[in-house]
């Protein structure tokens, strides 16, 4: 029952997720006597049996966590037999098809059964999934997986080309999902499979030409409320970042034009912290004077180090102490002792970060330079009773 109900401890035969670190997971099926090689060394399956899900497992060269399988973790770790749907599209499909316990769903093709697991999770224990796959091996493998995952009672897998032979289902389904190269050939049979009181349909296609043709036929066949979307997820890397404050030189007229780098918000101080602010300004000023012309080079080196270190990524999945002063621990920085973390509260800007040793330090969620640009178009439609 591992995919439709949680249990506390690992038993032989369970599919479990090994979480090594962010982005490094494996799905394995626990079998007494077997061993699984991780990058942290060998892991004996028997050591997992009886462990509580969520436990930390120590390996020869590191540790990992053993997680309870979910359709989402399975999607991230399943063996790819085809392109698969990922959780962003899966959640959209599940939501837009109004799936819930008791729903009867028709799916083709089964593919790698990524979506199938999520559908079964949502419609169990009272619903049923009819899934169709034209590639024989894939159909067999999927059926095997459902069996292993304890969910075979909620799903019927058929090896069949539904575009040619149809689903062979009469008015039983609340929803139909199509991921086919030529989905329009399956629409007539899909309509036949939907309940007489109506239902929802989704067609997933990577190319717009498929969508155009599908929509055309959907309209002809009396489907309504056509809704074509794309759903892209953008994941942020949350990290403490910093940008150095450039040296704008000194000016005797500090209050007027000078020192803006160190205390740009001086005019906007809240009354409560004005005194603290003064301290800050002073301490920065002191630093500046000590590090003046002859020592400029050293100051610069630190700056560029800070730039290098600018992105102190809180490496994912590991606790990572934010050590705002880590730069000063480098041996090159002789004047580390002199440093002081300085806060500039009060101005609106201190809501965004703080000035720390001539760096502007801030928390940011960095957008990824590479992200999914396209998975496929999802076309939804409703069939209503006539």
């Amino acid at each position: 029952m591992s995919f439709v109900g949680y249990k506390k401890c690992v038993e032989a035969g369970d599919t479990v997720i090994l979480f090594l670190r962010y982005g490094h997971m494996h799905a394995i099926r626990v079998k007494e006597g077997q061993t699984f090689q991780t990058k942290y060394g060998a892991l004996r399956h028997s050591d997992l049996i009886g462990c509580e899900y969520g436990s930390k497992i120590v390996c020869p060269r590191g540790y990992l966590f053993i997680l309870h399988p979910t359709p989402e973790l399975w999607t991230q770790n399943l063996p790819h037999r085809t392109q698969i749907l990922y959780s962003t599209d899966i959640s959209t499909v599940t939501y837009q098809l109004d799936l819930k316990p008791g729903s009867v769903v028709v799916e083709s093709g089964t593919g790698s059964a990524s979506l199938s697991h999520a559908i079964i999770r949502t419609i169990a224990p009272t619903g049923h999934l009819h899934t169709f796959e034209f590639h024989e091996q894939r159909a067999e493998k999927a059926a095997e997986e459902f069996e292993e995952h304890g969910i075979s009672q909620f799903v019927t897998v058929k090896h069949r080309d539904v575009c040619q032979k149809g689903f062979g289902l009469d008015h039983v389904a609340d929803a139909v999902f199509l991921d086919l190269p030529v989905p329009w050939n399956a629409l007539s049979s899909a309509k036949q499979a939907l309940k007489k009181e109506g239902g929802r349909l989704c067609s997933f296609s990577p190319c717009i030409e498929q969508v155009q043709k599908t929509c055309e036929i959907l309209r002809i066949m009396g489907f309504e409320e056509l809704y074509t979307i794309e759903c892209l997820v953008r994941e942020f890397d949350v990290r403490t970042s910093s940008m150095p404050i450039v040296d704008l030189g000194q000016s005797p007229d500090v209050g007027q034009v000078g020192n803006q780098s160190a205390a740009p918000m001086k005019d906007n101080l809240g009354q409560a912290d004005a005194s603290k602010m003064e301290d800050t300004t002073d301490s920065l000023k002191k630093n500046e004077q000590t590090d003046a012309e002859p020592q400029t080079k050293k100051v610069k080196t630190e700056q560029s180090e800070a730039m290098e270190m600018g992105d102190i990524a809180d490496s994912k999945g590991n606790k990572n102490k934010i050590d705002a002063d880590s730069a000063s621990k480098k041996p090159e920085s002789a004047d580390a002792g002199k440093r002081k973390i300085t806060f500039l509260p009060a101005s609106a800007s201190d809501l965004l970060g703080k000035i720390d040793n001539r760096n502007f330090v801030f928390k940011t969620g960095v957008a990824p330079s590479q992200m999914p640009g396209h998975t496929g178009y999802l076309t939804f439609a409703s069939l209503y009773p006539i």
């Binding site: 899966i90 959640s91 939501y95 109004d98 055309e216």
Partner: protein
Amino acid sequence: MNGNIISEGDYVVLKKEKNIKVFRVHRQRDVFMDKVRFTLDAAVGHPYGTMFEVKNGKLLKLERISLTEEEVTKKVAGVDNRDLHDLDSNQMLSQDDIEEMKKSGESRERIIEQIVEHSVTFEKKTEYAQAKYIKKKKLKHLMEFRIVKPNARHLCEMYFNKSPAKICHLRGDSLGQILTYGNVKSGMTVGLVDSCQGLVIGAVLERMQGSGKVVSFHPGSGSTTPRPILDMYDFPPDVTEMLHNFPLQQINSFRLETRSSQPVSGSVQQVHSVSDTSIPETGTMVDENTIGDKTMVPNTNEHNATALDNDDAEINTKTELNDSKDAEGAPDDACGLRQDSTVSDTTMDDSGPLSNLDNKRKRKNRKAGGKSEAEHIEDTKKVLLENKLDCLIIASKFHPTPIVMALIDFLAPSRPLVVYSQYKEPLMDCYTQVREKGGFINFHLTETWLRQYQVLPQRTHPVIQMCGASGYLFVCCSIKQT
């Protein structure tokens, strides 16, 4: 009673393109849509999904969908717009002329045809521009809509289009992700904080259909807060009975209790017996309309004070009266009644006579009534002591970090924590602090791009306006603390 037939007392969704409204079906009670007044009487007995039209103030089943764009499009069409000139006088029928035709009982087809015939530029428009023109005119002048059953998708869309602030700008795709990443399913125990007027609670209950438990943590000290959207889901009793409530204001002291009395969990009574104490959410509902966006927090307290002092059947009936009024008021409000305020008043006024059906329904749901607020809370405590949570969902107007910190210890190991926020910064704070506290892995902070497409022959493109704000989602997974 067939669940698929529109019945008296049902909450129903009226869909007219992007305009979505929820009403409760009462005989001879006026409802308003697009400033048109009608009653839903004629809808009773038809199956859900039926298309209706309002003609001369009467609701009728629409036998055939009015002529499509293609049907009206004339044979004569321009090739491009080189000969078009932008003038106000392009349409020769005045608004008054059109209203006159409607009143005289002119058919829909005829009205649209007339509008087309009186458009000076129609023939010079390209074929596609003609179709677009007709669609626009149809939507404006014809009152055709479909009646469907309420569900998470319709309710979220309705609120997101009309009053997104009331549901923390929670977009449908983000709601779908909450349910998916929360691994919400039948039979589990869900903990959640919902500042979205019950939208998220309802979406979770919908995915559980009567099996499992949901503990809703609400702000304040009382037994619950008003959740008008939850009512609109129109759940049967076996679904609403899954819901248990717990006031956040008591969470710290409860956590202390549990710490000192940890072995207690085994000794408490079977939790199943708790279920029949529930459905407090309808009883505690207060007038949504008078509050507007001011949210439920202050009013909760008002109400709770009452509930504490007068916990008896008579008061319950009185509350129901209020409730039924709100049941009209709240949906109307969400349906944009603030735009046409005259209508709002009317709807408010006719809350007087309560149908028997309505009363019966409510009574049945609350047959176990009479439990005090304190008892309700004690019952929920038992649920929390019995079950570790299988997922924790926060979709709150409050800063999520303190809430998350107070509740994560209730989460079982290897389970998802899902936090939604309209803003990125509070979630980054939450992300950072959960990581610093430890006990969680697999951190994800995401936003979603939702792009809709117009797919029409020779006119396929993404829609011209999109929503740039999906809100943000923070998801991670608990581990066993050692």
